[in-house]
Symmetry: C2
Subunit: 322 residues, 2 copies
Amino acid sequence: VPQVEADLVLPVAVGDYTDFYASIHHATNVGRMMRPDNPLLPNYRWVPIGYHGRASSLVVSETPVVRPHGQVKPESAEVPEHRASQRLDYELELGAYIGVGNAPGVPIDASDAHRHLFGLCLVNDWSARDIQAWEYQPLGPFLSKSFATSLSPWVVTAQALEPFRRAPEPRLEGAPAPLAYLDAGYERERGAFDVELEVWLTSAQMRAAHQPPVCVTRSHARHLYWTLGQLITHHASNGCNLRPGDLLASGTVSGPDPASRGCLLERTWRGTEPLVLPGGEQRRFLEDGDEVVIRGRAVRAGRTTIGFGECRARIAPARDGA
Amino acid sequence: VPQVEADLVLPVAVGDYTDFYASIHHATNVGRMMRPDNPLLPNYRWVPIGYHGRASSLVVSETPVVRPHGQVKPESAEVPEHRASQRLDYELELGAYIGVGNAPGVPIDASDAHRHLFGLCLVNDWSARDIQAWEYQPLGPFLSKSFATSLSPWVVTAQALEPFRRAPEPRLEGAPAPLAYLDAGYERERGAFDVELEVWLTSAQMRAAHQPPVCVTRSHARHLYWTLGQLITHHASNGCNLRPGDLLASGTVSGPDPASRGCLLERTWRGTEPLVLPGGEQRRFLEDGDEVVIRGRAVRAGRTTIGFGECRARIAPARDGA
């Protein structure tokens, strides 16, 4: 079948989907918006933060994403209302599929964690920021995420990525060493990946004017504070069983500079610094008809680049009166 | 097969497991421990609070629950450590299995929600309170819950429970009416259930002394602030697709009086008011060898009582050096 004629589908039946928060730059930026004097919570540099996501609403690239309804309460409003989200966002993430799982009650040693990684993919963890802000205390994000999570149709195997493994970035001054259960020579030396990650955007107006997509985020997997192996080990450290095909996503992969911020919440600083698109449109958050494309590639001098394909989706208008 | 010889297994292959927080008494008690002056968060009476749980670690009644390891940081400690939980708790919950699901993007009207309920079960959402306290900000509970969640092996069908439907308890003074998308005559008139719920405990010492189990929680499904139908409608309100066999749990079913508090965190007020067991042992949180049994029954004058069976499990010691 020629690639252009193939119908791409989800490559894996995901049992459980877990979303982490592994970019310290992302956590710091989001924290700074809410707590300017104390952006990073005390647990961040010790414990990999994550939460369970929704498996049923994982969809393959090119599936339209319908703008969700939800409860929102603007600060100026007395009471919340139920309406279509006005703060729809993308989140650039790296996904990791589990190959061999672990039995219930049996943790995964950090030195073995890389052997449980089957392969990587691209993830767009769409987020409705206005719904999230109202619902997330005290149990975390829920309906602000579970309307859709888009996955690239290709799995780049861990084996193929062996030549692109690298040491994680050195931690910033004052950062503690990982606790022993999260520490392993393999992860220290080879736990990270040389994978470039990008987000491209077109609006309906841009497409009508035959304008090319514009790159709105240019990031890199090396910006993750925790390696994928550490996330696997942490996840199983309480005895939780990971099953083949389970998906662990990194959380938004933001880097230290503004162009590397992996979502519009950060890129536009909660809408206060809109992006200006070619043609003059402004974007605080996503509009109907916007198409978001995530791309990734493993790159190393002297090695053949490996493309990750793409994770693409267009925002469809909200249902009437939902 | 005689019942005593049958091996009971999970009745349903659960795709996604969602845990709510639908008892206002539970939310208020837990909130009061952390924020004495402002126990209930502003969103509670408007939006049903819930989070995605872990499906892989759902286990059937009688499966031993191994005390989990995890990161904990006592307030007095400078840095966290990774060790066996010292604050293991039960949570008494009512579970709801989805029958007919909804297509992605298509919400479930509140007046139809009850038609999506296949049946009920008993849930023990085991919680490691020390792990939870350190990990849960800002994305909610994660490894503090995902080591095991116990389910009763029986499903009591919604059809069988029709005679036990009832109006929810009147809301307390000042509580707002539900937003329109959560409101329906059916739920107002018949959304709650006359189901009594109990938790029974034995310690290893009690069993050795042939002492009978002691009832540590006596509660009732009428104490839920949101009906199961409202939880179903809310869950699908963003277009999230519920699939047949998905499990929605109520959250801890606590009532207004101390004996009806559905977990030890509340029963012992975070360990400050230990329970005294027959034989003189004290319990702040669960000890190795403790066995917890949840029972439920639908009761109404003039109707034959329907038992829910039981959800039973014993705490096994933590793994060495995990």
